[in-house]
Symmetry: C2
Subunit: 250 residues, 2 copies
DNA sequence: GAGCATTTGTGCGTATGTATG
DNA sequence: ACATACATACGCACAAATGCT
């Protein structure tokens, strides 16, 4: 770069006017991003530079940046800098939701990684959802799904162990849930209900999803049934809200 | 008060062990809440008390509390204190989604308040969704919907003005969207698609939803069509994620 | 309404830790 | 090893909202 900083208005702030300084900074930066003065993916000035520009303490800049990150406008990386956020992926939720199809439809490369498989007795609430008696064995599989190598969703799947004895072995071999179920004699299944909420992620979730802790996750809970109506899978999934948008087709 | 604080384990922290102090505090409080040591709705100790208990600076306690609030476990009120979070409302999304029916099904009292009605030319993206030509007049109605007096969702509705000339007047009189559309000759309509994301709220959204700024909102974008398939309404809604859970029925 | 104590919110200055390149 | 840049933590001061007198 031959010339000065990008977006170099000094932007003086109104002190003691009822609006917090950090909020004025957040709004200024937000406007500059929206105006395209800093394009998606581009790096923002460092906290030190911003605190100089606005003549405030670095803490005050950090507060503004945290807000922007939580709102999905920027991404902060430890030791590297802050960057303007990029694209989002459309993820269709419907009776026939399958992860890989969903990702391929968007011209991205799907990938699945099984993080953990365990067998444990069903808790009361889970047993009821699965249509089992409490304490019956359940296979719990934790799986991270990615698109083009970037984490998109972290899913915890619960299967009735009695019905699918070889499921754990199958999943260890091939991380596709639908392939594993097909091999267990369930070539087709359908999603009954999905519950959706949002919250901030736990540290583990943030880590696995490679997402900041101040960015929300979309949380879904889904029940899948076979053509006869028997429950084959109860899934608790956490989507990186900054990278996906769920599409519900009625 | 005659006796000591509730939940009075001093809970010493591990310093310089790789885990941030604020996170240890957050985990301790989270565990105590989960264990029911502080029941839903109950008040937590003040920041000053907590910083004394954990022997840390008040900022450090505040960081932990912010995290808990963002995760939906506590609610912080300026000048009053912090409280353990309470119940959530199930909100069904489906082809026949109607706010008041939805709320009554949960045995709560629905209420709607029109905040703003305006007519303006359609932006490119909106025009396409509504099936109009760009620049055609659109009625924009902003509406806050409540259950038992507590804000649940903030919706921005967009109607083709040419088709519904008296809609603004009708809504000013009665905040029910379905009633207004019925009076305009659309007794029935159906939801086509819904897009769902999550992000932190803007200050205005947080204010209107009476929600903290560090708690996410669920954002939906829906398209409603009449029985002939013509688009009657494009809605952008923001739900208080701490108070609702969206239920998608496939 | 005025005044006051309590409690959360904002901001500064400083120091040190930790990840990245 | 070193510089850069973000992360955590302390201490202090004052602002703003609330509730009580």
């Amino acid at each position: 770069m031959t010339d000065g900083a990008p977006g170099s208005l000094p932007a003086s702030l109104a002190r003691r006017e009822g609006v917090a300084l950090w909020r004025q900074i957040q709004q200024t930066l937000e406007a500059e991003i929206a105006a395209g003065r800093v394009p998606p993916g581009a790096r923002l000035p460092t906290e030190a530079e911003l605190s100089a520009r606005f003549s405030v303490n670095r803490h005050t800049v950090r507060r503004a940046m945290e807000e922007l990150e939580g709102r999905g406008l920027v991404r902060i990386e430890h030791g590297r800098g802050s960057f303007v956020a990029e694209d989002v992926l459309d993820y269709r939720l419907g009776p026939r939701t399958r992860f890989s199809e969903n990702i391929r439809r968007e011209n991205r490369e799907p990938e699945g990684r099984i993080l953990r498989i365990a067998e444990m007795p069903a808790e009361a609430a889970l047993a009821e959802q699965l249509g089992l008696r409490r304490g019956r064995p359940v296979i719990v599989a934790e799986r991270l799904a990615l698109a083009d190598g970037r984490p998109v969703v972290l899913g915890t799947h619960h299967f009735p162990a009695a019905r699918f004895p070889q499921l754990a072995a199958l999943l260890a071999d091939n991380p596709s849930i639908s392939a594993a179920l097909a091999a267990c004699g369930v070539p087709d299944y359908r999603r009954l209900v999905t519950r959706v909420t949002a919250r901030l992620p736990t540290p583990e979730e943030a880590e696995l999803l490679q997402q900041s802790r101040s960015r929300p996750v979309l949380v879904t809970e889904a029940v899948n049934v076979d053509p006869e109506g028997a429950v084959v899978d109860v899934t608790h999934a956490r989507y990186a809200a900054g990278r996906v948008q769920l599409i519900v087709e009625s």
